[in-house]
């Protein structure tokens, strides 16, 4: 079937009708040029399994993509009329086409069309055709770097946003952010009130399950870490649905309504506003009853949690320490210890993190928080 005659390393083969040059799923790095005859390539349409037949005409290449990409053949090449085929190794092919760039350009165009078609099919299956709004997403990239304290990168994204969308939804905010960065003000208030980021927030909540993706090395994971904590604060979870969004500061100084206003800000990621109200609660002197006393304690905890969420870890440590100092018997302290452990984990002070997780475990081994602590501890120890 073959009568190899090496010319510059390239061999020529003659095939009889009905024979096969290669089968689907074969692995090979050969590339072919049909010199004369007729060959049919048979593959299956991915979407339907329908058979697709493609003719190779004299002068055309076949078997290029799978050889170059080093993956299995995607089609079967069957000989219809007696054919003469040139067989090229990858090196032959490279040498040959470097002398003829027009061939490469033609192939690139064919490839890019195919890539475009497959890309479209992928997006269709994913239902992604209309959901992504690049304008909003570009702004969010700026927000991400801003909150991470990476101001040069944030500035770049905001500037691009303004270039492409000068009069859009977030233009004013982008301008304001750039001003904050340039004036150095941003440094002092990293992570002020992020724009409400519904999609992002819900998707980070999906990270609650962390058996695999609990990779502290790729911090900032603070978002997902904090979301785990929401499990322990059941009543706060409902904050977003139970309480109306308060646009103005509360009118009366009733401590429980102050607290709920703050929670409401917190649940909308308006951390600065939440902090202001929590601090107001801390300034209350006369606490009427036990319930108020509890809220007062809770405000201490929430200040720590809010700073934690903002990535201001030193402030968070201070707040949690104050809580434990003022209320050594508070039932919130276990959770405060757990937060301290997470903070030290983020700060890569692993010994401290471990000892705090151990404290949590010793105080609440049977509870969910104790179990989570031991999971995280195990994680740290297996590093």
């Amino acid at each position: 079937m073959s009568n190899g005659s090496p010319t510059q390393g390239i061999t020529t083969r003659t095939y009889k009708p009905g024979s096969i040059v290669y089968f689907e799923n074969d692995k090979s790095e050969n590339i072919y040029i049909l010199k004369s005859g007729l060959i049919i390539l048979t593959s299956q349409k991915l979407e339907t399994g329908e058979e697709v037949k493609e003719e190779v005409r004299p002068g055309e290449f076949f078997g290029v993509k799978s050889a170059l990409g080093r993956y299995p053949r995607e089609e079967t090449a069957q000989v219809i009329k007696e054919s003469v085929v040139l067989v090229l190794t990858l090196a032959d092919f490279e040498r040959l086409i470097l002398k003829n760039v027009n061939v490469v350009l033609k192939m690139l165009r064919i490839f890019s069309n195919q890539l475009r078609r497959i890309g479209r099919a992928v997006r269709e299956v994913l239902g992604e055709t209309s959901t992504i709004n690049p304008e909003e997403e570009l702004f969010k990239i700026g927000e991400y770097y801003y909150r991470a304290g990476r101001f040069n990168q944030a500035r770049y994204a905001y500037n691009k946003y303004l270039d492409y969308y000068p009069n859009a939804k977030y233009s004013d905010l982008a301008t304001k952010r750039i001003r904050e960065i340039d004036s150095g003000q941003a440094e002092s208030n990293i992570a002020p009130q992020p724009v409400k980021r519904k999609e992002v927030e819900t998707s980070t909540e999906e990270l609650k399950d962390f058996t695999l993706d609990d990779d502290i090395d790729s911090m900032p994971a603070k978002e997902s870490v904090v979301d785990e904590m929401d499990d322990f604060l059941g009543e706060n979870d409902s904050a977003s649905s139970d309480f109306d969004i308060a646009d103005e500061s509360p009118k009366h100084e009733d401590i429980s309504s102050l607290f709920y206003d703050a929670m409401s800000f917190y649940s909308q990621s308006e951390y600065e506003s939440a902090l202001q109200i929590y601090k107001k609660i801390l300034n209350q002197k006369a606490l009427k009853n036990d319930a108020e006393n509890k809220i007062y304690q809770k405000a201490h905890f929430e200040i720590g949690r809010t700073y934690f969420k903002m990535g201001q870890y030193n402030e968070a440590i201070e707040a949690f320490s104050l809580l434990m100092k003022k209320f050594p018997q508070s039932e919130l302290n276990v959770n405060a210890l757990y937060h301290l452990a997470m903070i030290y984990e983020v700060k890569k002070q692993f010994d401290k993190a471990k000892s705090y997780y151990q404290k949590v475990i010793s105080l609440a081994a049977k509870e969910e928080i104790g179990k989570q602590a031991s999971r995280r501890l195990k994680n740290l120890e297996s590093r």
């Binding site: 170059l68 990409g69 490839f111 997902s224």
Partner: protein, 214 residues
């Protein structure tokens, strides 16, 4: 492969460490060739910055801009002081005429891209979530040609990544992985999955694929 020095006078651009070269979701018209320094390709996924790739001299990035004007799918950030050649879509043909090596390189990149995209489409078209998850693992195993499929195989992958590949919610993927773990088919670690018998998964997926078309 390094390109002609003369090209740098015409197309050269330089970046300082941590400079963004282009940003995810920014419309893109240019593609780049690295002359010196390293470039990190990152994407923000679920509020975390993930490194997709680190590229060095001779590498090409942003080449999808040759195809069509679509927003960038990832950001490129300079790691070192970086020297790049920046090319516009419009002078693409002229550029390749003068640099057949670059043309060849792009051909290889596109071949791989097409296959990866097709392979992913095959996963997405499966009608059973568990098989989708299994097929992501099959795909990852295929990417390492030296893997011995007779033995348990270790795949460096996170739940998040599996969910992205399979186009599924991370919670659903987690449930399936937990289930497979309980059945003893896989072992889960923080940064990897060990599949006891990948041929098992291949068989299951292949037979479903055949019956789908029947």
């Amino acid at each position: 492969m390094l390109l002609d020095e003369k090209l740098f006078d015409k197309f050269g651009v330089e970046y300082e460490p941590n400079d963004i070269i282009f940003c995810e979701f920014e419309p893109g018209n240019d593609f780049y060739f690295i002359q010196s320094g390293r470039v990190e390709i990152v994407k923000i996924i679920n509020n975390r910055e993930k490194t997709l790739d680190i590229l060095g001299p001779g590498d090409v990035f942003g080449e999808m801009a040759i195809l069509e004007e679509e927003p960038r799918s990832a950001s490129a950030i300079a790691i070192d002081h970086v020297k790049l050649l920046r090319f516009r879509r419009e002078n693409f043909d002229a550029l390749l005429q003068g640099n057949p090596q670059l043309a060849y390189k792009l051909l290889v990149i596109f071949s791989k891209r097409i296959y990866d995209a097709k392979r992913r489409l095959m996963i997405l078209l499966l009608d059973d979530p568990q098989l989708k998850v299994m097929d992501v693992m099959n795909m990852l195993a295929e990417q390492d040609p030296h893997l011995d499929v007779q033995e348990p195989v270790t795949l460096r992958v996170t739940v998040q990544e599996i969910a992205n590949w399979a186009g599924m919610q991370i919670n659903d993927v987690q449930k399936i992985l937990t289930h497979l773990n309980k059945l003893g088919k896989i072992e889960l670690f923080n940064d990897r999955v060990v599949v006891r018998n990948i041929r098992d998964f291949q068989r299951l997926v292949n037979s479903r694929r055949k019956s789908m078309y029947a």
